[in-house]
Subunit: 320 residues, 2 copies
DNA sequence: ACCTGGATGGCAACCGGTTGCAAGAACCTT
DNA sequence: AAGGTTCTTGCAACCGGTTGCCATCCAGGT
C-alpha cells in the first residue's frame, strides 16, 4: 500500500493538516517542521493522491484531448504539442480516440468530465447542440470547428482551399472534383463553401467519405469517371488513397489528374509523387488550445491560424 | 454545478446510500424505489463522479497507456486496439507520450499512479530497475520488453530479425549493416543479439540512433560508406529516412543497397520502393496487453506474439 | 507588567461517494 | 399467533486530502 498523508503525519508526530500544508501551502508552515515533514514523506515514498486532492479543490491538473482518429498522422504532432505545452503549465493531458464515432465521443466526454479540468475537442463529430449541452459540465476548447460562444482554435481552411483552387485554376484546371470528409466535419463544409463560391469552376462533389486512405481508394473510380482533371481531397490520407487507386487504374498523377491534399502529413512527403497539400498549423494549434483552456476556463475566445499551400509533385498543368 | 448524489437523494426523499446503491448495487434496492431514483437522477442530469468513487473502492476503471512517441505510426493501431478492448471491459484508456524521454516517462507514471488501475508501458525507455520500483505503486503490463516477474507482451523480434537476415542472405548479401534504435530499447538489443549469432554474416553496427525518419537520414552517409550491401533497420521510419538519404546520394534501393525495416507501418506501404519489412502484431499486442492487465493485476504472465516477414520492393539480389 | 499581533499548527467539517451494520417491515412456516 | 427469513433502507464511518476557524506561543511595543 502506498503511503498516505496520515502515515506521514504519524511518522513525524504532527497533524495531517500540517502535512497537507507542507505540500499545498508551504509558506504557512515553519521551515523546521516543513523539512521534518518532507524528510518523512521522502522516506515513506509519499506522493499526494491527485484524485483525492481534486475532490476538495475541484482542480485535477489534468486535461482531456479527444481526437477522431489517432491513426491519422495529422493528429500526433498536435497531441505532442499540446502535451508539451501542458507539461510546462504543470498539467497532464489524457488522450482518447473516438474511432470517428459520435457515440463513443459522447461517452468519452462524460467519462472524462469529473477527472479533468477541461477538454480539448479536436475535429469533433458530435453536433453543435450536443457539444453545447456537454459544455455545461466541463469546459471545452474546440479545435477545427466554430461554435458560437465557445473558445475555439480554427485553422483557416477556407483560405487554404482558396489557395489550392487558385493554384489548380492557374494550371488550367476547370473541372475539379471535391472529395469531402465524414458527416459532421466542419472542415469539409468550409472547403465546400469556398469552392462553391469560387467563380469559373466546374465542381463535382463526392461525399461523405471516410477520412482515410480507404476512403480515397474507394472513391477513385468515381473520380476518374467524372472527367475532372483535378481533385481537392479532404485530407492527405484521402489524397494518398486516391492516388493509389488511380495508379491501379493506370491513371497517372499529375499527368492525367492533379491531386491536392490537406494537412501536410509525413507520408505525403515520402510519397511518390510527393503530395501537393495545404499545410495545417497543427503544432501551433495544440499549443494554443492548451493555453486557451487554461486562460479562458470556457469563455469564448477564438483563434484562427493561417494555412499555407505547399506545391510539390502531385499537381501539374491540365491536359487538353 | 453538476448534480451530486445528495441532490438526487433530496429530490426523491431518500438517503444517499440508497442512491449510491441504485447505481453500484441495483439488486439491493426495491424496484419501485430504484425507478424513482433513476427518474430523479435523469431529471437532474446526475452522473456518478468516478474520481470520488475510486477513492473508496480503489478501482478507477481507467488504465494508462504510455508510449515513447505517438507520432510513430507503429503505435496508433496498438493504441486503438487497446482502447477498443478496454471499452468492451468497461474501462477507459488514457494515452500519454513520453517524447522518448525517460524522465518524462517516470513523471508520467507517477502522475498516473493513483488515477488508474494499471499502466500499459509500451517500448519503455526506463531501466528495468526503475520499472520494478515503480511497479510497487501501480500494476504494469510491459509491451516490448522482458522483465522478470512482470507481465509482458512481447513481439518475437528475434524470429523476425532471423527471417529478415535469412532473406537477405538468400539474396546473396554478406555484409549487412545493422542500424539500431535508441538506448534502452529491448527490441534493439534483441535484433543485435540474433544478428551476432547468425553465422556467415559480416555485420556492421550503427547506433544508437533516433528511432525516426531523422535518425535514418542522419546515418545514411555512414551506411553508404561502410560498404554493406544490405541494411536491417530498427524500424520502418528509420528505414524510410535511410532510403531518403540514400536517394539523395543517388544510391538506389534495392539496386545498390537493400533495406529491411520493422513494424509494417502505412507510410512503408505507400513508399516507392515499397518497403520490405517485418510485420509486428500491434493490434493483437494492444488487445493482449489490456487483457493481461485486467486478469493478472500484476502477476507475471508473458505472451509472445509471432512476427512475419513481408517482402516487397526494397530488397533485391546483392550486386557483385 | 500588560496588550497586541503575527506565526504556527491542531480540530473538525467537507469534497462525493461506498459499504458494513442494524433496525423495521413484509412474508413465510408451522 | 409466535418465531424466523428475506427485503429494504437509514446510519455513520471511511477513502485521502483541504481549509476555515480557533487556540497557543512568542516577540515586540509601551
Amino acid at each position: 500500500m502506498a503511503a498516505t498523508i496520515k502515515d506521514v503525519a504519524r511518522a513525524c508526530g504532527v497533524h495531517v493538516s500540517t502535512v497537507s500544508r507542507t505540500f499545498s501551502a508551504p509558506h504557512l508552515v515553519n521551515p523546521a517542521t516543513r523539512s521534518r515533514v518532507l524528510a518523512a514523506a521522502d522516506d515513506l515514498g509519499y506522493r499526494p493522491n491527485r484524485a483525492a486532492r481534486a475532490l476538495t479543490t475541484g482542480r485535477t491538473y489534468n486535461m482531456g484531448l479527444i481526437v477522431a482518429d489517432i491513426a491519422n498522422p495529422f493528429f500526433p504532432p498536435l497531441i505532442k504539442a499540446a502535451q508539451a505545452q501542458a507539461r510546462g503549465r504543470d498539467y497532464h493531458v489524457f488522450v482518447a480516440d473516438t474511432d470517428e464515432d459520435p457515440r463513443v465521443e459522447e461517452e468519452l466526454i462524460r467519462t472524462l468530465t469529473k477527472q479533468v479540468d477541461g477538454v480539448l475537442l479536436c475535429s469533433p463529430r458530435l453536433s453543435n447542440r450536443m457539444i453545447e449541452r456537454l459544455a455545461e459540465d466541463v469546459p471545452f476548447v474546440v479545435v477545427n470547428r466554430r461554435i458560437k460562444g465557445m473558445p475555439a482554435v480554427l485553422m483557416n481552411v477556407a483560405q487554404g482551399a482558396k489557395l489550392a483552387l487558385d493554384h489548380l485554376a492557374g494550371l488550367g484546371h476547370r473541372k475539379i472534383a471535391l472529395v469531402s470528409g465524414p458527416i459532421g466535419s466542419w472542415t469539409s463544409n468550409e472547403m465546400q463553401g469556398v469552392a462553391a463560391e469560387t467563380p469559373g469552376l466546374d465542381l463535382v462533389f463526392f461525399g461523405p467519405n471516410q477520412p482515410t486512405e480507404t476512403g480515397g481508394l474507394a472513391v477513385a473510380a468515381d473520380v476518374a469517371a467524372c472527367g475532372a482533371t483535378a481533385v481537392l481531397a479532404y485530407n492527405d490520407l484521402v489524397a494518398l488513397g486516391l492516388i493509389e487507386g488511380l495508379a491501379a487504374m493506370e491513371i497517372g498523377v499529375p499527368d492525367q489528374i492533379s491531386v491536392v491534399g490537406f494537412d501536410d502529413i509525413l507520408p505525403g512527403r515520402l510519397n511518390r509523387p510527393k503530395l501537393t497539400t495545404v499545410a495545417m498549423p497543427a503544432v501551433a494549434a495544440g499549443r494554443m488550445a492548451v493555453d486557451l483552456l487554461l486562460q479562458s476556463g470556457g469563455e469564448g475566445a477564438t483563434v484562427t491560424l493561417d494555412t499555407a499551400l505547399i506545391v510539390r509533385e502531385s499537381t501539374g498543368r491540365a491536359q487538353k
